[in-house]
Structures are given as C-alpha cells and as structure tokens.
Symmetry: none
Subunit: 148 residues, 2 copies
C-alpha cells in the first residue's frame, strides 16, 4: 500500500537552537515510529552535500555491497572507510530533536537552519539554499528547455 505514514516525503525547514538541536518534522517522526526505527544511521550522500538519515537497514544495504567483494581488497577498504568510518548513529531526544554536530555542519554547510528532505526510505539534511539550488539544477537538467 502507498499510505502516507510509511514513506519520507516532501520537505521542511527548521531552525537550529543555541544548543545545536533541531526538531525533526513531525511527519518524518511518525514514519520512523511506523517503521520501528529508533537508532538513526547517518551518512554523507555520495553525490550531494547532504547527510542521509535512515534506520540500521540503510547500513545493512551498504554492508551487503561491501560483502560482495574481497574483504581485503583496497576496494572494500575504501567502502568501509566511508560506510563505517563516515557513518554515525544518533538518536532523537524526548521531543524528537537531533544534534547538529560539526560532522554534519562541515559536510553540508548548514548554519542556522536545516532543510529536511524526504527520500522515500530515508530522509536527508540540507543547507536550505543548497537544496533550492540542487533542486533547480535537477529540474533544469531533466526538462532541458524551459524559460524561467
């Protein structure tokens, strides 16, 4: 079924407080509950300056990929460096907020606000303007000729 509560959809922008916390949009939180996700696995996106956030299954998916090659190969070493060394587990506080660490700030350029972007089976953290730009660029590339 294609209900609304079991997928991460749409986007929202929230403010970061003085303690570097930001509320995860309520809609996303209910998806997390729906999916029984408590531990959040966070990883740098491979293409965009964004942090991907999902359940442990997100990590599983990458690990299966690693397992498919020789574990001692430089290839596997490189993947593990990103997936294991670059990935972080986080949890939300009682109010459904997460910490915006330097790890997240440095990679995304996030300053005072975070744009949450649904990606179906996970969601992402973006610097608001970067998200606008990337979306505009994606639109541009897909529908090549369109006057603004």
């Amino acid at each position: 079924m294609s209900g609304v509560t079991n997928r991460f959809l749409s986007n929202a922008t929230n403010r970061i407080d003085a303690k570097s916390r930001v509320s995860v949009p309520a809609g996303f939180r209910s998806v997390l509950v729906e999916r029984g996700i408590q531990e959040l696995y966070c990883l740098q996106d491979f293409v965009y300056p964004a942090i991907s956030v999902g359940g442990p299954d997100l990590l599983d998916r990458y690990e299966r990929q690693i397992a498919s090659v020789d574990p001692f190969s430089p290839e596997a070493n490189r993947m593990s460096l990103l997936v294991h060394g670059g990935g972080v587990f986080m949890r939300l506080d009682a109010e459904g907020r997460l910490m915006v660490t330097d790890f997240i700030r440095d990679f995304t350029g996030i300053g005072t606000e975070v744009t949450f972007v649904g990606r179906s089976d996970h969601f992402q953290l973006w610097q608001p303007q970067a998200f606008q730009d990337a979306q505009a660029a994606a639109r541009e590339a897909r529908f090549s000729s369109r006057p603004a």
Copy 2:
C-alpha cells in the same frame, strides 16, 4: 543484526596529553567490553597510513587471509612481514586511554591529535587531516556499482 553497541562505527578526534596518552572514545570502549576484548592487537593498515586496532581475532583473520594465498608469493611474504613482524599488543589504562608510541606516530604521522575511525569489527588510528583527505578521495572514487 545491526545493533549499535556491538560494532565500531563513526569517528571521533581526541587530544594527546603530555604523557602521550589519548582517550579511546567511550562508544568504542563499550564495544570492546561487549566483545570481551582486553588485549588490543595493533598493526599497520595495508592501504592507508593508519593503525588498525582490534582483539586477538583480528590477528586470526589476517593469518587466515595469508594462508589463503600462495605462501611463497611476494604477497604472502609481505603480509606476514606486516602482520607478524609489525603487530603489537597493547592495553588500556583504568580511564580507557592508550599510549601513542613512536611506532604509531611514525607510521601515521600523528602529532597532537588522533582520529579514531570505526571499521565495524575493528577501529583505526589516523592523523586527523590524513583521514579527511582519504575519505574525500574515497568518496571521489565512489563505488563501481551503487545501491539502488
């Protein structure tokens, strides 16, 4: 299963004090406890300028790898030189710190700070900047095939 306390994940950078000690991140320490690891086996990574740290099982795994290739190959010879000749056992002190020896400094270029990098079944010690660079390079190289 992909619990959080039974694998080494994510990364953290800690300072080395005047006595050349550095705190192992609390998260990593609990994984060590979880796995019943007391003696730490350390050796040089085959690819990167990093020291790999794990339990005695880490040594086992490398020995099996050596055994799986032609024992007279330059490859096996080289691996044995590193694994058997280059490996070191260490222990943590009561506060969960380890000594940063010259063996570690020389191979990694570590100066005043250490970046601890989770690698699932073991973790690594990196010079902070070297880790940043290696990760950026790995991301650049990306995967040959990507998850759907």
